[in-house]
C-alpha cells in the first residue's frame, strides 16, 4: 500500500524510470493507434505520410467531433493524422522526454502557461520558422505564447474566470446584482447575504497553481503587477479575501478548496457567489437553481483582467525541418475561422478571434459575458514574464494561504513573498 507512495522517489526515480520507459512511450504512441495505423498505411501509399498530434483532451475519443476534425484536416493536407491524448499534467513531462529523445510530435496542443516553459526548453518553433499566421488572434490571448519577442503558437480557444451567482439567494437577501460593480459593492452584497442567513462567496485558494489562478483576477483588478507583489494594490487584494474570511462572508474551507470542491459548495445552493470558469457552464445547468454570471469586478469598477486558460497549438522542433510545411497546414486548418467555431464549441471554449467570438454570441447569447471576460483577460506568462511566472506564482499562493489562515498579516505575507519571488527570478 504505502510502498506505492510516490513521494520519496518521484522526483528522480520517476524521471529515470520514465526515461527508460520513454522508448516504450514512443512505441506506444504508434501502438495506440493501430486502428488508425491500418488506415495510415493505405493512405501512406497514396503519398503524404503520418503526422503525429498530441493533445490534452483524453475525454474526446475517436468518435468525437474533435478527432474527426483532426482527421479531416489531415486529409486536406494530404497526410494521415496519428493522434494521442494525454492528461494535461502528464503532457508537459511527456513532451519534455520526447524532445529529449528527439521524437517530439509534429503538432502539440498544450496548456498556455506551459508554452513559455517549452519554448525556454527549445522544444517549440517560433512563428518565424513555422510561418503560422497569428494576425487575426486577439493580442491579449496571443501574449501568453510570446516570449523574448517571438510567438510560439496559436491559441485554439480560451476560457477564463467570472462570478456565478445564485438568483434565489440574492433575491432572498434583497441584493440587486446590477449594483455589484466594484469591490465595495460586492462586499456590501455579501454582508446582506450573510445577514439573510445564507453564505457569501466561495473560491479556491489552495496551495497550488490553481490558487494563484483564482487569486489573479483580484490581484490584477486592484491594479497590481506580478513584478511587485507587495505593492499597496497587491496587499489590498489579499486583504479583501482575508477580510471576507474574517467576517464570515467566505468559508474557511476556501484555503483547501480546489476549483472543483469550490464548485460543489456553490452547487449546494446556499452560496450567493462562486468564482469559477467557463468549463462549469454545463454543470451550472444541472445545479437545479437559477444562476447568472457577472465578470469579476475590478477594485474601482469595471471588469478585472482574469487569467486566460486554454491551450495553444504549436509546432515542436523536428530534425527534418521539411515537415513544418505540412504541420503548418494542419494548424492553420484547426484554427481557421470556419473550423474555429466548431472546435471551440466542441471544447467549450471562447474563440481567440473577434470574428468567431461574434458568431459564438450569435449562436448562444449566454456566452456574451464570457466573451467580455476573455477580452479583458490576460495570460499569466504575459508581460514578457515567461518562465519567471511560476517562480512568482508559488510565493504568491503561499502568501495568500498565510494571510487567509491568519498566520501572517496581508502586508507581511506579501512582503515576504516579494522577497522570495525576487530572489527566485534573479
Amino acid at each position: 500500500m504505502r510502498s506505492a507512495a510516490p513521494g520519496r522517489h518521484l522526483a528522480g526515480l520517476a524521471i529515470a524510470a520514465l526515461a527508460v520507459a520513454s522508448g516504450l512511450a514512443g512505441c506506444s504512441s504508434s501502438g495506440d493507434s493501430t486502428g488508425a495505423g491500418a488506415q495510415a498505411s493505405s493512405s501512406q501509399a497514396a503519398g503524404g505520410g503520418a503526422y503525429t498530434i498530441w493533445d490534452p483532451y483524453p475525454q474526446h475519443d475517436k468518435s468525437s467531433d474533435w478527432v474527426k476534425l483532426l482527421e479531416s484536416c489531415g486529409t486536406q493536407a494530404g497526410v494521415t493524422v496519428e493522434r494521442t491524448a494525454y492528461d494535461t499534467t502528464d503532457l508537459t513531462n511527456k513532451t519534455l522526454l520526447a524532445a529529449q529523445q528527439g521524437n517530439a510530435p509534429d503538432v502539440l496542443i498544450v496548456d498556455n502557461p506551459v508554452v513559455s516553459t517549452l519554448a525556454e526548453a527549445g522544444v517549440l518553433t517560433s512563428t518565424e520558422e513555422n510561418k503560422l499566421d497569428t494576425s487575426a488572434v486577439a493580442p491579449n490571448l496571443l501574449a501568453a505564447g510570446q516570449s523574448g519577442g517571438k510567438t510560439y503558437g496559436v491559441p485554439i480557444g480560451a476560457n477564463t474566470l467570472a462570478l456565478y451567482y445564485n438568483k434565489g439567494v440574492l433575491k432572498k437577501a434583497g441584493v440587486d446584482v446590477a449594483s455589484v460593480k466594484d469591490w465595495a459593492s460586492l462586499t456590501a452584497a455579501l454582508e446582506k447575504v450573510k445577514a439573510a442567513g445564507k453564505k457569501g462567496i466561495t473560491f479556491s485558494a489552495i496551495g497550488t497553481e490553481e490558487g494563484s489562478f483564482q487569486f489573479l483576477p483580484w490581484f490584477w483588478g486592484s491594479g497590481a503587477q506580478l513584478t511587485k507583489l507587495d505593492s499597496p494594490e497587491g496587499v489590498s487584494a489579499v486583504a479583501l479575501w482575508t477580510d471576507w474570511l474574517k467576517k464570515g462572508y467566505a468559508p474557511n474551507s476556501v484555503i483547501n478548496n480546489t476549483q472543483t470542491t469550490s464548485w460543489q459548495e456553490f452547487a449546494g445552493g446556499d452560496f450567493a457567489f462562486a468564482e469559477n470558469g467557463t468549463w462549469q457552464l454545463a454543470n451550472a445547468e444541472k445545479a437545479g437553481f437559477e444562476y447568472g454570471i457577472i465578470p469579476v469586478p475590478a477594485k474601482d469598477g469595471g471588469t478585472a483582467p482574469a487569467p486566460t486558460g486554454g491551450e495553444f497549438v504549436s509546432i515542436p522542433v523536428q530534425q527534418d525541418t521539411a515537415r513544418y510545411a505540412v504541420s503548418q497546414k494542419l494548424v492553420a486548418c484547426l484554427t481557421s475561422t470556419d473550423n474555429s467555431l466548431s472546435t471551440t464549441t466542441t471544447l467549450s471554449y471562447i474563440a481567440p478571434t473577434e470574428e468567431v467570438q461574434a458568431k459564438q454570441v450569435e449562436q448562444n447569447a449566454g456566452l456574451k459575458v464570457w466573451v467580455e471576460a476573455v477580452k479583458a483577460a490576460k495570460g499569466r506568462t504575459s508581460d514578457d514574464l515567461g518562465t519567471k511566472y511560476p517562480k512568482i506564482s508559488e510565493p504568491m499562493w503561499n502568501a495568500v494561504q498565510a494571510a487567509l489562515s491568519g498566520s501572517k498579516s496581508p502586508q507581511q505575507a506579501m512582503a515576504e513573498a516579494q522577497t522570495a519571488a525576487a530572489s527566485a527570478t534573479q
Partner: protein
C-alpha cells in the same frame, strides 16, 4: 521472525551450511559455475535495472544543474553539491525537516502503542475476535486516495462530520486542514489510523510465537499482569518490535499521498514534509526543478538508510 526462545540457535545453524556450501562451490567444475551465474542473472539484471540505475540517476540528477532546456538537451552541467546547498539554505528546509520528524515520530509512537494494545487484546481469542480483527484491517485494504479523501471530507471546517460532532457538544469548530496550527496534526491522525493495521498484524503474529509455557512459569512464580507484560511479553517481542518500527519508519518517512490529498502540504507549508516538498519541486510547479527535487529525495533515502544501519547494528549486538 523465528521463535524468539531459540534465537541463538538459527544463526549458528545457518552459518555452518553456508560455509559448507562455499567449500563445495569451489570444488565444482566451471560449467556448473556458469549455470549458477545463469540462475543468478535474472535477479542481478532486475536489481540493476529497477534499483541500481534509478538510484544512480537520482543521484546524478541531484548533482547537476537541470533546467528544462538542459533536461531536453541532456547537457546539464555538473555542479557538485550546489543543489544540496540550495535545498538546505531554502527557508522551507527547517520547517519541512521538523514536520518530517514530528510526523514520523508521533505516527510511529501511536501506531505502535495502539497496534500492540490491540494485538494483546486479540491475542485472548474471544468469540468474534477474528471478525473484529478483520475489521481493523480495513484501513489497510482501502486505496490511499479513498481513505485520504474521506479524511479530508470528515475534517472539512464547514461541512465536516468531525466539526459537526464537536458542535453538538458545544465546542467551537476546529479548522483541521486550513489552520497552520492543526494541519500537521490532521495528517498525523489520518496516518496513524492507516498505519495501525500493519502494526497489529505483525505484532499479533509476534505474540503468537511466544511460548505459553513461559507465561505459565511466570504465573507460577507469582508475576501479576503488568509484570507479565513488561518482564515477559515486551522483551520477547523485542526483535519483532524492532522490525515493525523499522518498516513503519521507512513507510512513514516517505508518506506522500495522504498529505498531498488532504492539505497539499499547506496552508502555506505548515504540513510540508520532505516527501511532499520533493514532489512539489519536481512536479508541483509549472517549471520543474528536477535537481533540488532529487536532492530532497536523496536526503530522505539517506535518513531511511541511517535507521536501517542502526537496526542492523542493534541486531548484531543482540546476536552476540
Amino acid at each position: 521472525m523465528n521463535h524468539v526462545t531459540q534465537a541463538p540457535a538459527p544463526p549458528a545453524a545457518a552459518r555452518a551450511p553456508a560455509a559448507g556450501r562455499g567449500r563445495r562451490a569451489m570444488a565444482r567444475p566451471p560449467s556448473r559455475q556458469w549455470a549458477a551465474w545463469a540462475f543468478l542473472a535474472p535477479v542481478v539484471v532486475y536489481l540493476a535495472v529497477f534499483y541500481a540505475y534509478p538510484l544512480y540517476r537520482n543521484l546524478d540528477l541531484s548533482l547537476r544543474d537541470y533546467t528544462v532546456r538542459s533536461f531536453v538537451r541532456g547537457d546539464a552541467p555538473f555542479t557538485g553539491t550546489a543543489n544540496y546547498a540550495k535545498v538546505v539554505a531554502d527557508p522551507t528546509f527547517g520547517p519541512a525537516l521538523w514536520h518530517t520528524v514530528v510526523f514520523t515520530v508521533v505516527s510511529l509512537a501511536f501506531q505502535f502503542t495502539i497496534g500492540l494494545a490491540l494485538a494483546m487484546f486479540f491475542h485472548r481469542n474471544f468469540r468474534l475476535s477474528a471478525t473484529l480483527r478483520a475489521l481493523f484491517l480495513v484501513p489497510w485494504l482501502l486505496p490511499l486516495i479513498v481513505s485520504s479523501s474521506t479524511w479530508s471530507w470528515m475534517l472539512n471546517s464547514d461541512s465536516g462530520v468531525v466539526n459537526a460532532v464537536l458542535g453538538a457538544f458545544g465546542a467551537a469548530p476546529v479548522h483541521w486542514l486550513t489552520s497552520p496550527d492543526w494541519s500537521l496534526w490532521s495528517v498525523v491522525i489520518a496516518n496513524i489510523w492507516i498505519g495501525i493495521p500493519f502494526n497489529l498484524v505483525v505484532l499479533y503474529s509476534g505474540l503468537q510465537a511466544i511460548d505459553p509455557v513461559i507465561y505459565e512459569a511466570a504465573e507460577l512464580d507469582g508475576a501479576n499482569g503488568s509484570q507479565r507484560f513488561w518482564r515477559v511479553t515486551f522483551p520477547l517481542l523485542r526483535p519483532v518490535s524492532a522490525i515493525t518500527l523499522l518498516l513503519g519508519l521507512v513507510y512513514t518517512l516517505k508518506v506522500f499521498d495522504i498529505i498531498w490529498i488532504m492539505t497539499r502540504g499547506g496552508p502555506s507549508g505548515s504540513s510540508t514534509t520532505f516527501a511532499t516538498w520533493s514532489y512539489r519541486l519536481g512536479f508541483g510547479n509549472l517549471l520543474p526543478a528536477f535537481g533540488p527535487g532529487a536532492a530532497v529525495g536523496n536526503l530522505l533515502i539517506v535518513m531511511a538508510l541511517v535507521f536501517g544501519l542502526v537496526y542492523i547494528r542493534l541486531q548484531r549486538r543482540q546476536a552476540f
